[in-house]
Subunit: 361 residues, 2 copies
């Protein structure tokens, strides 16, 4: 298996070009040596010119001719060779629970964007089991990387990641309990607090938390912040209904919350927008109007939030900014600089899925 597949060798002019040795694993790709030969200069000169380090060391004329020949011959530097020589790859591994979740797709987009600005590559490793530890990111991604950025990983997923001895940047993870080289935090607690205060101000007192049943920092914080904020109102009640992430699962959990014993909650606080979408469906099934009979909030502000009707009140999380900050922090670490600790705010976006509870109308 070579890069060019089964194509037979087809050397240039065998009379001017010395015969290559029999063992030739990399097929017929143009190398810097080929360019050097064509230009009548040394390999070093080619490297200097193409690496833009030639000023004052190579004549303008030579540089021009090298560049022309390189283009003509379709020369592309062999990255494996460069990486080996340089001892670094300028590539970061981004580990996320699942890319089909738009939040992580945005984190990736932000990371890729920031990385491109610094001529750094991003290799993605979506943890196969949704959340949870990748068995071996190094084996599976197979990429040579300089460092790792991991987002929103479950608590027990860290060990595997630290195995490589590579610098690790944690995103949306416990800033205290991490031995990461840097962290990028989201002020999740503040977002949840604002949500609760918004609902309390509307008059809600009976809350249900449709909570992602995932053992990760980001969801623990949501639960705690919600409980703390709700109980500021002495007469407020809060029950919790755990669910997997997803519309169907969220619907089932919301149905349980709405049809359980005791007085029905008037506000469903959901741990993300997918769950909230499910909660909206549950409400409709039970004949409850949103927001007239029931208020529902989400988290993340995915595109789903405005695709729904009514549009979701939710906490906007700057996912792309998280990815960008992650890359910047990693680059700082790799450059031996101290990364500036980052905490990104969320923003409560009030839309049409929240209103005063029915009793108050």
């Amino acid at each position: 298996m070579t890069a060019e597949g089964g194509t037979p060798h087809g050397h240039g002019d065998p009379t001017t070009e010395p015969t290559t040795p029999a063992h030739r694993p990399t097929a017929d790709r143009t190398t810097s040596r080929d360019v050097a030969r064509a230009a009548g200069v040394s390999q070093a000169t080619v490297s200097l010119v193409l690496g833009d380090k030639w000023r004052g060391r190579v004549s303008e004329r030579t540089a021009d001719s090298v560049r022309a020949l390189a283009r003509e011959l379709g020369y592309r530097p062999n990255l494996a060779a460069r990486n080996l020589r340089l001892g670094r790859t300028r590539t970061a591994l981004l580990v996320v629970p699942a890319l089909t979740n738009e939040f992580f797709a945005r984190v990736h987009a932000g990371a890729a964007h920031a990385a491109a600005e610094h001529s750094v590559g991003v290799v993605l490793y979506p943890s196969p089991d949704g959340i949870g530890p990748a068995r071996d990111p190094f084996d599976s991604a197979r990429a040579a990387v300089d460092g790792i950025i991991a987002s929103s990983m479950a608590a027990n997923a860290l060990a595997t990641l630290r195995g490589g001895g590579l610098p690790l940047v944690m995103l949306d993870s416990d800033p205290l309990r991490s031995d990461a080289a840097a962290t990028v935090n989201l002020d999740i607690a503040d977002g949840m607090r604002r949500t609760a205060e918004h609902l309390l101000a509307l008059g809600h007192r009976r809350f249900a938390h449709i909570a992602a049943g995932i053992d990760s920092w980001t969801f623990h914080v949501r639960a705690e912040a919600l409980a703390t904020a709700v109980h500021q109102a002495p007469d407020a009640t809060l029950r919790t209904e755990p669910t997997a992430l997803g519309v169907t699962e969220g619907r089932a959990a919301a149905e349980r919350a709405l049809s359980g014993p005791g007085p029905r909650p008037t506000a469903l606080v959901c741990d993300d927008d997918l769950i909230a979408a499910g909660a909206c469906k549950a409400a409709r099934r039970l004949g409850l109007r949103v927001p007239d009979d029931l208020s529902i909030t989400g988290f993340d502000d995915l595109s789903l939030a405005t695709a729904l009707e009514p549009e979701l009140t939710t906490v906007r999380l700057p996912a792309a900014a998280v990815g960008e900050a992650g890359i910047r922090a990693l680059i700082a670490v790799l450059d031996g600089r101290a990364p500036e600790p980052t905490e990104l705010p969320g923003e409560l976006v009030v839309r049409d899925s929240t209103a005063p509870p029915p009793a108050d109308r």
Copy 2:
């Protein structure tokens, strides 16, 4: 910038270990040489044992000790060196228009899954401009790859991709006009035909196509197939309203289609689920009930399709299977085998957004 950041060197035992040369770009990572030295064997033996090619060539005892030492020292092979030596990377570059579109996230998931089974890595390159040509995927992704898989690219995006001289597999693209090494097709036309026939059978005659205004094969086919199928009914009419991909954009286009001159269409055929979600919002704004007053169909069957109310009638595209087939085709090409041409079917999923037109009720 080294892999370990600013940490100072900290060699093992300097009395037993010869001093390393001054220039040491790759910090203090354990190499196969270190393992060999520790085990008292040659580097070759380490390579053989760890590459599982030792049977009959190295004693069981030696192999065991090498493995133990490798683990103990935390040895990880330098991929750059291996890639250079082998002349291949076992890595594929996946180029998609935008990862925040769930369809492509699923294509990636399928590709990553199939790739992992074959110990192949996938590096992702989301085209920055949404659709359209990546400026230079090789520079930006910076990964050394053996081949490229590109999905649903605009017609003019191909040239850049072929620049590398690497084998190219095209997904969801024109099977005829491609000089790719292999293609994986989706039977888009059939899906659109079934959609039209479903609506015709319900009694619809006035159609509007809310069409993605993107110059790519996949959308051209949708337009053609719809027009052909609709015009099987001699009294059917079809107007087209172009839009960018997205909920907001789809809503605006649907509003234009619904409030244009002439009799109002009774069915809105949308080029994807996001546009359809926008169309649903447009209907509600105009006081039209879906599906009683207006039928709406989508394409893709994203999770959005069932998050909406009513749930969307749409064409399910096997996105993950597309990604898987892409990887398999690329591996076949790289191995010098002829890839089996693949055409994956779509499936019309009838849900609650389509019904007979109001006149027939």
